[in-house]
Symmetry: C2
Subunit: 214 residues, 2 copies
């Protein structure tokens, strides 16, 4: 007959089994996921201007981008969202840029994590602007405190209502192709009524290496 | 050769597979866990005063209990922590009492969940005190705003630093036997130096039905 002690031991053994099973599952799918994401990154890099286009096409995100942002983001050749730790303790958003007239950095990273007292904190790579091209100090002089990508990138005070990070993590990163194709869908529908669902229809994937018309 | 579209589809198929696998695992261990917990509850109920003793013996929790609390908690014959939803959206702590001279309720529930704007909120069963035994209104007149179990039970303003719920959920509920046995360990060690690890040593489980000496 079971005693309280043996039942307690069974419970603890089971909890340890469960922890191991979750870890195994998490590792298995984590590796599979990584494999697919690496393939996806490679294919995306062979489509010039993919990420800049996808960011611009996102219906909510585009309102946070000014015309200078769009120009700079056309040099973005890779974007990665990396989760830190199995328990989703934080994440890094990495923006890889090709050589461009604005800054020297090859990669700009914005990182979110847990602060010492449990609150969310962020930090980002200092941008090495080239002379006369510092979009951050240029925009500070603007009369309307208008939203901008680089303003967001270096701002660490309004994390609680960070709409941009929400869009990148929950919409663009899970399915960037959907947003990249959005304008093509819209163009194909030119003259007809705009259909918000157009991007979700089966459409041809752009061929690697094909330059997308501006 | 994979296109961006087929890789994206593989990624999404894999995500759906992962979600299903996690759900299966969570259901499997959830059922096993429930089975062991039900057995444990039954065994505990056959040891009179088990929970009252376990609560009192907890080194940190005891400082939140005044002498009246301890008297009332000797009538506690079952305690359950129930998680709400698979994603741990909240939980209920259920205190089952036998007939006692203090209140009419058979069960007092304190429940924690997510409020409309994402913050943690709690609520609890209104206690039907018997005339002259309302520990809540009696303690309000005390000069030192001293901590009490029933003050905690009906207080919903300091959830962020709710030490009592932390102790119940993370220490007592996972292994109540350890705390129940603590005083016995201490008694066995009487005259020797107090050893904090004593409760974790293998000790005999109290026989069902055996009344614990006060």
């Amino acid at each position: 007959m079971d005693t309280l002690e043996t039942v307690q031991q069974k419970l603890e053994t089971m909890n340890a089994q469960a922890d191991r099973a979750y870890l195994r599952l998490s590792r298995k799918f984590g590796q599979l996921r990584l494999h697919h994401l690496e393939r996806r990154n490679l294919l995306i890099q062979s489509v010039p201007g993919f990420w800049g286009q996808a960011l611009q096409n996102h219906p909510q995100l585009s309102s946070f981008l000014n015309s200078k942002d769009k120009e700079v983001l056309s040099y973005l050749n890779s974007l990665e969202v990396e989760e830190l730790g199995l328990a989703r303790l934080g994440y890094k958003i990495k923006f890889y840029f090709e050589r461009n007239p604005y800054f020297q950095n090859k990669v700009l990273i914005k990182e979110y994590g847990c602060g010492p007292s449990g609150q969310v904190v962020s930090r980002s790579t200092p941008i090495q602007w080239l002379p006369g091209h510092d979009l951050q100090s240029l925009s500070q002089g603007s009369p309307d405190n208008s939203p901008s990508f680089f303003g967001w990138f270096s701002n660490h005070t309004s994390i609680e209502s960070d709409k941009i990070v929400e869009i990148i993590n929950e919409e663009l990163w899970p399915n960037p192709l959907q947003y990249y194709l959005m304008s093509e869908g819209a163009r194909a529908e030119k003259g007809k009524e705009g259909r918000p669902g157009a991007a979700k229809q089966p459409v041809e994937t752009p061929e690697p290496g094909a330059k997308k018309p501006k």
